[in-house]
Amino acid sequence: MLGAHAVLLECSHLWAGEHQAEVSPVCSPQVIEAEQRSSKRWELTPEGKEIVQEGSHEARVFDSIPAEGLPQSELMKLPSGKVGFSKAMSNKWVRLDKNADGGPRVFRAVESVQDSVREKLQLVQQGEAESLEEKDRNELKKRKLLMEVIIKTYWIRKGSAFSTTVTKQETDLTPEMLASGSWRDLKFKAYNFEALGIMPESGHLHPLLKVRTQFRQIFLEMGFTEMPTNNFIESSFWNFDALFQPQQHPARDQHDTFFLQDPAEATDFPMDYLKRVKKIHSQGGYGSQGYKYDWKLEEARKNILRTHTTAVSARMLYRLAQQKFTPAKYFSIDRVFRNETLDATHLAEFHQIEGVVADYGLTLGDLMGTLREFFTKLGISQLRFKPAYNPYTEPSMEVFSYHRGLQKWVEVGNSGIFRPEMLLPMGLPEGVSVIAWGLSLERPTMIKYGINNIRELVGHKVNLQMVYDGPLCRLDS
């Protein structure tokens, strides 16, 4: 079979659209080369074949009518009755007498007929379909007597590795082949490199925490020390009062903050410091007018779920102030809690990223330069700063970056220099400035991984498939 120069393989009824790949392994290019061709051919349908044998329905109707005619009802009972009658009528081969005795009766209208349908079909059967006129072919096709068949064929030639001996192809190397050296003489089945491999069984890290790892890395690269933020429960004192956030501030409202029922109150405070905080709020001092209101210890005692990690920064700066001052750079990335209305981008808990630098003589320019370095490591280079208001920083600046996708400036963080009313009561030296900034971990992660609903990312409703499929996290690429 393969001896010929070229062999026509007839793959009958291989309709166009079937998968090429199905034949490719057979036609391994090393052994044979195959070229696909296709041609069209006209064939008779089963009904067409019957007509070649028996004559067309209309001819059969004509033949079955005797000289005295036939009642229409009987004619219709014939196998070719319905189709044949209407065709014979339109050919004017028969006529119908509706007023005949015993109901409508059909008579021959001509002496003899020529069954051209049968003749045309006979031509097709003899392979001479091309000799028919196109409109005849279409007419017959419409009557479902003819059909057009597409034939796919493969022209097969000897390939570069042509051989007439049949060798069983090996699927893969085995230890035995290696031991015996038989692999040298064996043929191996080709691999299908189009297919995917088998994924290794493995565990996966959570995307948000992969991003957290990167942020930690960035802070460590920049020489920042990690703060101990493992205290979700905080007193209002450290969360608000220490930050010079007045007791009537809306953030301290039930609608914004989770208060604790049990343990409801904090019991232990550095009392000297607390007195200084009370004074700065109610009377001012250190060059400040203060807020001039009746500061209450009960309010400061109230335990809450911390609303920001800045509460920890306050504890750290207070601790720093209790010793001979040395410059410090701190960071933290941890959970904070807000009693807010939830939506697709807001949950009651999220992760806050915070950086703090304390040193003599830090400037607003230093804050901006530090932010530029930090955001450059995140792959964000175009920054702009907008004046803003935070209760515990002054000056304050919101950080915007140009988002190419949205074609506008979007807020990427908030920053400022801590107020003297916060730092001086702690006991930090007057010349020391503390610059700080923060952002959420969720927002950059959602942008990075293209997640629109925060619930798919954080919490038990996470989409594990997304976790399984997640790529590495490199923030700067």
């Binding site: 609303t307 920001h308 009651a348 320019g365 530029r372 000056p395 963080g413 923060g438």
Partner: protein, 600 residues
Amino acid sequence: MRNVTVARACDMPTVSVKRELLFQALGRRYTDEEFDELCFQFGLELDEITSEKDIISKEQGGGKAEGASDIILYKIDVPANRYDLLCLEGLVRGLQVFKERIKAPRYKRIMPANGGVQRLIITEETAQVRPHAVAAVLRNITFSKDRYDSFIDLQEKLHQNICRKRALVAIGTHDLDTISGPFTYTARPPSEIRFKPLNQSKEYTASEIMDLYRTDSQLKHYLHIIENKPLYPVIYDSNGVVLSMPPIINGNHTKITLNTRNVFVECTATDITKAKIVLDILVTMFSEYCEKQFTVEAAEVTYHNGRTCIYPELAYRREKVKPDLINKKIGISEKPSSLAKLLTRMCLKSHVTGSGNNIEIEIPPTRADIIHACDIIEDAAIAYGYNNIQMTIPKTYTIANQFPLNKLTELLRQDLAAAGFTEALTFALCSQEDIADKLGVDISSTKAVHIANPKTAEFQVARTSLLPGLLKTIAANRKMPLPLKLFEISDIVIKDSTKDVGARNQRNLCAIYYNKNPGFEVIHGLLDRVMQLLAVPPSKASGYLIRAAEDSAFFPGRCAEIFAKGQSIGKLGVFHPDVITKFELTMPCSALEINIEPFL
């Protein structure tokens, strides 16, 4: 959109102004982009460009908006401490001074020419409910529809912000020509107060008024402020006409109209400092429309002890700041005279004094937000332009350190993933049911921290175990191919009376195996691997061991307690079928939870 950032966005107030009116007042037109840029520099945010029609159709559907105005509105976000920018008048004044098109006006308090100063007498009864009041008169004012709307709107903005929803301060404004002083601010039992409230057609007693407004979408929020007090605050004129029952409602009698020429302003308060600020803001903003522009007629307030105060204070305070300090804090090197000019552009009229080593700054009554030199420095930086400041990198030299607990956590996470387990991240807050009922324990036996004001059951307690979160994660991912192997290393919270706040976090490691078989050996193997990673050998003496234990969360005989470093560090086991069912799972499941802090 709220931004999740460090400092909680302090619910920035939004001021809505008609664009045409704004441009008219600014004396020039801006493209939307130009105005947006100006706002950005000044620390405002052009939040939205819209119209009444747009707003209504967005909120209630297109059909309802028909006939509504399609005049373009700018919605501008204003920093929460800038009460002087909460109305068109203030915004325009701030921006015009910033662009040096006008000089900041000088506000003046004047005594009436004929000596007939309006008097407000505070009686002793107010002490228990709302002890303070301040007052002033806007004399010969000319309202138009837009000015009137702005006047009402500013009061509302102040009420919502500095007044803390009227709890701290409540403003009442009255047509002075309908009443006659002296006025009395007193407090009476609700049954004895009777008047026709604003826009009502008949008289009600104070108790009836409270009932009347119980369903009012706006006023219902203020009722709680006085509702349970025996006496309600009320202001009368000399003929017994009720001006207002603060902080709820004014009387209809003194209602201001477009034709009102003289306005009596009173603010009652629990916080006198804020009352003074609110009065100053309201009168400085609208004295623009008085016959004698930017003048305010004084009123005299007398306390029951005879102490008398004249309001509004309209105090100008002087501060001295060294130019060197401003330059150093910002990181610029401007001449003292340039710095004075920058500050003057922020409505802080400044000049260089002495030999040039001091700048004297006059803080106007509109800028109550300036309480320290740092506020002055910020304004200098804004006027200089934040984005014109040279960025520098601090010379601060420090050595970085990781927090040891986080360092251990990071290392363990990597190796747990390498062991074939996938990391989950579950909420620290959950329902009582999650940590108690569903695990077959009584909530009182947990050392859980309870939240006082949860909006839903999801936030009743802080978790005392990582197990519920992982079980819920599996329940939400039941369609994923088995087995499911999850882990989490995160903090739980437990009460601890030795801590200043009475509670502490504990870093736990939790892992769970969910399959057609319980897989105790898989979880046990993971424990062995974790101990191997922590270099703790299996040994009774100095290593780790597990010992049969009972725990309502686990199937009897299928639970063991884990001991290491001479203490119990957690448990492992096959979940009790009740637990599996309660978490809406259908397969056997085993888990492990240990405290990793002993391994630091």
